[in-house]
Amino acid sequence: MEIEQSYIDIYREFHEELKSHSAEVMNQGRDAAFDQFVASGFPTQRLEAYRYTDVRSCFAADYGMNLRRVPCLLSPSELVKCNVPGINSHLFFVVNDSFLSDTSLPLSRDMEELMEKGVLWGSLKEHAEKYPDLVARYYGKAVGAKMDGLTSFNTAFAQDGFFLYVPKNVVVEKPVQLINVMHANADMMANSRNLIILEEGASAKFLVCAHTMDKLNFLCNRVTEVFVGKNASYEQYKLEQTNYTMTNFGSLFVKQEEGSHVVINDSTLHNGFTRNTIRVDLDGEHAETLLCGMAIGDREEHIDNTTYINHNVPNCHSRELYKYVVDDSSVGVFAGRVLVKEGAQKTEAYQSCKNICMTKEAHVYSKPQLEIYADDVKCSHGATTGQMDETALFYMRARGISEKEAKMLLMLAFMDDVIEKISVEALRNKIRLLVEKRFRGELAKCSGCVICKE
């Protein structure tokens, strides 16, 4: 327990102070989560769910934590440049693990209109203080009582994050964009917590970008809970463009009610060491979910997408599509478990994972898992891992296209069906461009993000 011990000591020594800088609702389950963490420790590779991703040793390095909530010196207007160009969005920032309150910028007209309709957005801590009943009804409920080491650690240490509440039948047309920025003058860890609630018939699109501003060692352990009410529609697009010194853990828990519709699309273009865990609970009939993702790895990058889809009731529909291109000695991991519970008849669940290894040293571990306890279901999975199509490559070269360009076109084509599933046109075009730049090696770090340029 030596890796865990220093964190255990920090909590025991500073938990009063930690709590005093957070909200009562978030503090309620804190000690219990801490006890769970003490019992389990960080996930090790002995656990099936973490077999190919050594999470625990990532915590061995000495990271600073900002438990006293020392404010960030950045102003939102400096960060606004980080916006994905051409995307007209409602923009918010979490710097390290604090929501950046934006009082310097005036509210736009449509933001005001949405707030008049009852939409709430901003700091989770502030909203938990202002609306304790609302937040308490949801906080920690998607995660559940039994947490893995990353989630219990987050629940013990998280003090703030982003909050979004969309009341019944309200449609938020423009995407809500959250940029998670890491910025510090020493190695730093961030545990932020996001809570997103869509009531019956509500609709929202959420974009999340992960950026780093400094070439320091950063570790993020972010947990997001999403509640999608009856017939509500939620889409989430996550884009990671960080660098080799970034360790990024993201756990997403989604609960879907009857007739709800969810799309989750994760693009990892540049990273260091990443583990995304997604768990979707289909709790109401006729709910639909589409999980997709792409990962492009090179050098020593490590990208793990582990997904769980639980068909808890009949008549739900889930699809998964993940694609990886790994170069040099990078590693991709995909694990997708689909659980069809007893009685969840007429379930349809399809999963596909396709991968290209560009070198002999690059690896993809893909692990489809279907667990079916009902007898009237349609489920399938397919996983392929191979090399680039040599005959197509030669065909293109024989037309005068250079080997490099031909490979680029083939890789871009390979990723295209994941990109096609992005419904926000400006984002889709932007991602396509970024992927192309990534394959051309022109995407050093965050492009289109001025503050990230060295």
Partner: protein
């Protein structure tokens, strides 16, 4: 234009070409015929630079350059074109994007600026008519879901776009019905000039009714065993390859 001397080539350690000699001059059309497994497609693959084949002996000069030292893309940019026997499907890469990239890489090689989008589309429209290629096909992925005939017409369309000095048509007639054959052949004939040349590889004399060769060569067991004028094709059609085998004393 093209001079092949004593060319030997292997695939997976098995020798297929065992000393090919062939000279092609501008304005000429050469037909290469021969039974299955004689090395016809290997010859075209080796000339185009398919990395699956290893040249063990001999030399090939193309426009005064050592062809065997050039990468497949540089061979294409130098003006060599291979019409594939089995054109490759490339899902996700649109015909327009594919062709624009190819044309602009050729232009770059010649020191020319990339073509503007409108000029390019104009050129595509013009060349598509040559082989009566459906407009819809241009917007689809390269060869994906194309019928056999459409794939072959698409090869000739690409040839028209790239204006090669030497084109090698590898069994362009296979899998074509008579109408498609006529369209493909008339496309090839329209592209013919005094400055360019073609090598037509075929099993059957049928294609040679439309694309009239100046020379006919018979390839057998990795060597050219007989060369003559176009009358040789007719003779082969009549007598079959056994006649050649007998002549060789087999």
């Amino acid at each position: 234009m093209l001079e092949i001397k004593n060319l030997h080539a292997n695939i997976n350690g098995k020798e297929i070409l065992k000393g090919i000699n062939l000279t092609v001059k501008p304005g000429e059309v050469h037909a290469i015929m021969g039974p299955n497994g004689s090395g016809k497609s290997t010859l075209s693959s080796v000339l185009a630079g398919n990395p699956a084949y290893v040249v063990t002996e001999g030399e090939v000069t193309f426009n005064g350059k050592n062809l065997l030292e050039l990468s497949p893309e540089d061979r294409s940019r130098e003006g060599l074109f291979l019409s594939f026997q089995y054109p490759v499907e490339i899902p996700g890469v649109s015909m327009v994007n594919f062709m624009r990239t190819a044309v602009n890489e050729h232009r770059k090689y010649k020191g020319l600026e990339p073509m503007s989008a409108s000029d390019f589309l104009k050129l595509m429209r013009e060349k598509k008519e040559l082989v009566e290629l459906d407009n819809k096909l241009a917007n689809r992925s390269v060869n994906e879901g194309f019928s056999g005939g459409e794939k072959k017409r698409n090869e000739i369309f690409q040839m028209a776009m790239l204006e090669p000095r030497l084109s090698i048509l590898d069994e362009t007639d296979s899998g074509l019905d008579i109408d498609a054959l006529r369209i493909v052949a008339s496309g090839v004939n329209k592209l013919k000039s005094n400055d360019n040349a073609s090598i037509v590889i075929t099993h059957y004399q049928r294609l040679l009714d439309y694309i009239v060769p100046d020379f006919v060569h018979v390839l057998y067991k990795g060597r050219i065993v007989k060369s003559a004028g176009r009358e040789l094709a007719l003779e082969l059609e009549e007598k079959g390859y056994d006649w050649i085998k007998k002549e060789l004393g087999e």
